[in-house]
Symmetry: C2
Subunit: 692 residues, 2 copies
């Protein structure tokens, strides 16, 4: 809001001006004076406050001042009012000019004021309700004491018969035959933020409001902009505003700002009415767009025909577009997703049993949708967006695009279920772009800095060069959300190359704590050596499995393979590199980490694939863990790997279910986690309360 405005007087004339409550008018009593004048005195009506400002010193002027002041270039008047006018030009300031010795004024200059109240209002204090003229509405700050409005990207689809997200078209439909909230999700229940433009009169609300005087009728222009300090304008692709349904327009929302519509003219008619708009975000924060947008209203004054309108006032509101937020394993599950395949009937049944133990629902993606693609973990990542007035889940669609590629848009996107994707234009998509390679930690504190929404974890080839890496557009998108600062791990040593192949997080039931579980080949060797020493060297792995068991793999055989030992020493170094990064970047200590036995085998490209089902690749549903059944060495008819893992996890209150994924997932280089996906409850913590 431009709070100071200069108005020029002219001796011998009456100047009419619109005064906006909350601003100061400055007038140049000196340059408006007749040439022969040397002093001036002032009269003004009661509702006007006039100060004479000389060299920065202000002195208030009585209503009917007898006092004379010397004219000087550094003497100006400051005019303020605290109430709206009841009639146009009903408030006045009169300047009388005098010659050096004269007692009668030689001339006069008059300022006739119409005080109005005008503001652009939003929910800047984040309580879900639009308040009046919040003084901090034009800036945006983080933290529990932060202020500034929040916008949601309108990325859900309220009209089931349309193929895309709401924001992707310019048409806005209402639900037919109802007068309720329209299909675009405006109003109380919708994705859109309310914006109120009040060109009315403060206390004069009920009365018939003054028309601005003929020479100063006004036009208001609304325009959106990305927020770069003092560089407004041009934000049409970032946000849009809509007028609510009007019977006259056939119950449709009217699109007034956004895309090509860079401004909207509102005829200022006076009156006390408020104009209601709904505002939606069109783009998520991303590289080059930090997420702040602003909407301005400018009041323009009419002088005369043939003379362009002049701006006399602007008001600004700032919004931050809510980031997309990922949900770590410690949050309660809402839905578990799994694909129904020709070959995974038993797996599906085991997952169903597991889900039935928890408080969530199973969502099966059928064959006509998945078309043979079982890797539902890799195709999508579930997250959410939230504002004080509204929140809903949003699925991030991977650029991987297997046969499941239409699933998120066709099956997930819907009313109050949003969709977003990032696809590279030129870069090739690799296996590291699958979202098994995109995880998020629980809330952590690192050297005193808190990450109340955790940190995103992605796998990469760093610190080596030239390997596979998640595509830049997705990395940039994740980074730009700001609230879950990403950490890049080293996953390119794996054939598939996903972070979920070597780490996961489990809650400790009944506490706010968690443990990080990491695959560990050294833990596996340690266990196998123990078992060997206890006399179980001939214990057989992969028992009961068709093809694999025929080889009769025993603990002794595994421990005696020099090449397997060396390879797994190398894999352990890769694991330890990540372990060290995770300890540093998540502020973890040894006691926060549990090593789960794992073995890897080197493939022809010298990358690692799991030797037996990789237990860390589990599904976590509150205290219930669905762990890939490892088919480890049978010691007294029990798999010693299962026994060991139970001994590590069950004392924490966790419940281990070992799920046989060997034929339907493991042999295709994935496990339980790769073949499932979970939508979880949002954090109760509000993202705007953090300081990134």
């Amino acid at each position: 809001m431009q709070r100071e405005r200069t108005v020029r007087l002219q001796y011998g004339s009456r100047v009419e001006a619109v005064y906006v409550l909350g601003t100061h008018l400055w007038t140049d009593v000196y340059s408006a004076a007749p040439a022969e004048a040397h002093t001036f005195s002032l009269k003004h009506s009661e509702r006007v406050r006039v100060e004479v400002v000389r060299d920065g010193q202000a002195e208030e002027v009585a209503t009917n001042g007898k006092q004379r002041w010397l004219l000087s270039p550094s003497t100006t008047l400051r005019v303020t009012m605290s109430q709206a006018s009841t009639e146009a030009s009903s408030d006045k300031v009169t300047v009388n000019y005098y010659e050096e010795e004269g007692s009668m004024p030689i001339d006069q200059a008059g300022l006739f004021l119409t005080a109005i109240e005008i503001s652009l209002d939003v929910d800047a204090d984040r309580d879900g309700v639009v308040e009046k003229n919040n003084p901090r509405k034009a800036s945006w700050t983080w933290g529990p004491e932060g202020q500034g409005a929040i916008l949601l990207v309108n990325c859900d689809r309220d009209t089931p018969w349309l193929p895309k997200e709401d924001l992707s078209d310019n048409k806005v439909y209402s639900k037919e035959g109802t007068s309720g909230p329209c299909a675009r999700g405006g109003g109380q229940g919708g994705a859109m933020q309310t914006l109120v433009f009040s060109p009315g009169l403060g206390q004069g609300g009920g009365r018939s409001a003054p028309q601005p005087p003929g020479r100063t009728s006004c036009t208001a222009i609304l325009s959106p902009a990305p927020l770069t300090p003092a560089l407004p304008g041009g934000g049409g692709d970032l946000t849009s505003a809509l007028l609510p349904p009007d019977p006259f327009f056939g119950q449709r929302y009217v699109h007034i700002l956004g895309r090509q519509k860079l401004y909207h003219v509102v005829k200022y008619t006076g009156g006390s009415a408020e104009l209601l708009f709904f505002v939606e975000g069109l783009r998520f924060p991303d590289e080059g767009f930090p997420g702040l947008v602003s909407i301005h209203v400018s009041l323009l004054e009419y002088m005369a025909e043939e003379i362009p309108l002049t701006p006399i006032f602007t008001d600004t509101v700032v919004f931050r577009i809510a980031p997309w937020i990922m949900t770590p394993n410690i949050l309660p599950p809402l839905s578990v997703f799994v694909c129904c395949m020709k070959d995974n009937y038993l797996f599906l049944k085991e997952v169903k049993n597991l889900v039935e133990k928890t408080n969530c629902e199973l969502k099966v993606c059928f064959q006509y949708v998945n078309r043979g693609d079982r890797w539902i973990q890799d195709e999508v990542e579930f997250g959410y967006i939230e504002a004080p007035h509204k929140g809903f889940p949003v699925v991030l669609d991977s650029p991987r695009d297997g046969y499941l590629k239409d699933y998120p848009m066709k099956q997930l996107l819907g009313p109050d279920f949003g969709y977003v994707t990032r696809e590279p234009l030129y870069e090739p998509v690799t296996s590291l772009d699958s979202f098994g390679n995109l995880e998020v930690s629980p809330p952590v504190t690192v050297n005193g800095k808190t990450y109340p929404l955790g940190r995103i974890l992605i796998g990469s080839s760093f610190p080596l060069s030239g390997g596979r890496r998640m595509t830049k557009v997705v990395r940039d998108f994740l980074q730009a959300q700001q609230v879950q600062a990403p950490v890049e791990l080293y996953s390119d040593w794996l054939t598939v190359g996903h972070v979920d192949e070597f780490m996961t997080f489990v809650p400790i039931p009944g506490t706010k704590q968690f443990r990080m579980l990491m695959a560990s080949t050294s833990a596996c060797y340690k266990l196998f050596r123990e078992k060997q020493r206890e006399g179980h060297g001939e214990a057989i792995m992969f028992k009961g499995l068709g093809g694999m068991s025929s080889k009769r793999i025993t603990i002794n055989k595994i421990l005696s393979s020099e090449s397997l030992v060396q390879e797994n020493q190398y894999f352990q170094r890769c694991l330890d590199w990540n372990r060290d990064i995770l300890k540093k970047e998540l502020g973890l200590t040894e006691k926060d980490i549990i090593d789960l036995p794992a073995l890897f085998k080197m493939d022809e490209r010298r990358q690692a694939r799991a030797y037996f089902p990789n237990m860390v690749n589990m599904i976590v549903l509150d205290k219930d863990l669905g762990i890939p059944k490892p088919f480890g060495p049978q010691v007294e008819d029990v798999c010693c790997l299962e026994t060991h893992v139970r001994s590590l996890l069950e004392p924490l209150g966790l419940c281990c279910t070992f799920v046989d994924d060997i034929s339907a997932y493991h042999k295709f280089l994935g496990e339980v986690h790769c073949g499932t996906n979970v939508r979880r409850k949002p954090f109760t913590f509000k993202w705007w309360h953090m300081v990134p």
Copy 2:
């Protein structure tokens, strides 16, 4: 720098490891134990410090400890060394494992250490000298106490026979036949920042250094990256590094990083040598690139044939690319630029006289170069870049591209004279893209926030919509430099639409203060009315001029034109809108502003052009002002406008020279400022000392 590293022991084996001074090695004494072991004891050589860490509590171990510790998953060893090893594997830690009641060890695990000192070093403390392993080299902070290295964009041209900036090609030439600093400007005198990679041994410098043991020979990889926290990699288009000339390569710098060269492998041979690199910036900060880049070195360890190298250490240095900085009128002039035209001989002579009074040189752009384009103010903006080790002027070339378009690249770019430009891909270029519309204020303080390098000022159509606006790529570039936060003014009400048509800044000689001069139609009317009252109503304007004077324009005529009065009231409102913004955004008060009389006339598109030469469009050379001669009403044979302006400016110590620009500039809608340009001394204030 990753300071913590896990190394796995193995009972019955000797594990060799490279230890980097300044890091901690963690070893898992528990998982390395034989199955039957219950306790352990430790021996280590003198130069090694070993701590047993149990549940976060560390306890130091004596060299030849008799003490026994219980084996437990939460018990680890932390190993540190403070000196480099003198021989490979010369330092040891031995773990003895015991059975529950045994007094003799049942097995051992050995850790053989080679301690080396390795670092990537830059001038992170900004004193112009590279220091050793600055602990704050991996981050970048602003302010007088700030740390972090600074890079220059190598945008000058050290090889006169090449057509473009140095950075635009991959070839690097030295001056032929000399062994001095090479043409790319490396070394002490050049644009490039020095980077030292020390794979040597701290104190062991002079001695023959140990080769790393056979199984742990190392490879170092250097790679550049844009700095986004914990997301390194992929910065090849932002920065490049070069090896200094080597006689073997024919005195050429060898380009090792940048563009397509994303990493460079240095064979680690031990030894005490330092490797010297020179680093240059390739891109200025811009939208989506905040200006921070990093270079990493990763140390990779060799295990065995067929096993990939594993990363064991990374070190990182961060650079900020120096912003392009504009120079306000208060800085001393170095060169004045003006075009030589067919019709501006007298103007040129007057400018030459003016320049001779000051301490700077005149640079005339001749007709074969300017090809009839006289608007040298509009084609370029002079600025500079600076780092602790070097600085030089850089010209920003406007996307305007009149006939002067080749001038900056062909005539200005050269050794220690840089060049940068931004051209829109799709947006049309308008008159607002000329750099008469790009100015910068002197240093200001606004509500307690200081702008020690001033603020950039550009003209726009805001707050109106749909008008002309400076192209986004230039606005984004200016914004991204961060150190002179731009302010957008409203200049679209003018036919030409440049901010230099209504404002400029003058120094107050001998002080650090300045005044803002603003065109004012109300000041002009006030002056004319005074003169009328004094009996000079018939004073003639444009006296002595051919075509114009024939109309016999007097003060009375001007004051009696109703339409001119009304138009200029409107123009004053446009001026006042800017005046109010400038007061707010630069923290100015009335006494900082001087109103210079001006009149405008409305054209057929209802935009403003100067009615008489627009005095605010002046050239400022220290105390000497070259002001467009206004040809105002002659009062007692003197132009009353000149007299008035002298009375405003000369008391401040300024010296007014009125330059006749009417036939060569004014009639083509420009004045003195539009037809000249000034390169000024850089600020003595260092930009990295500010906090943007």
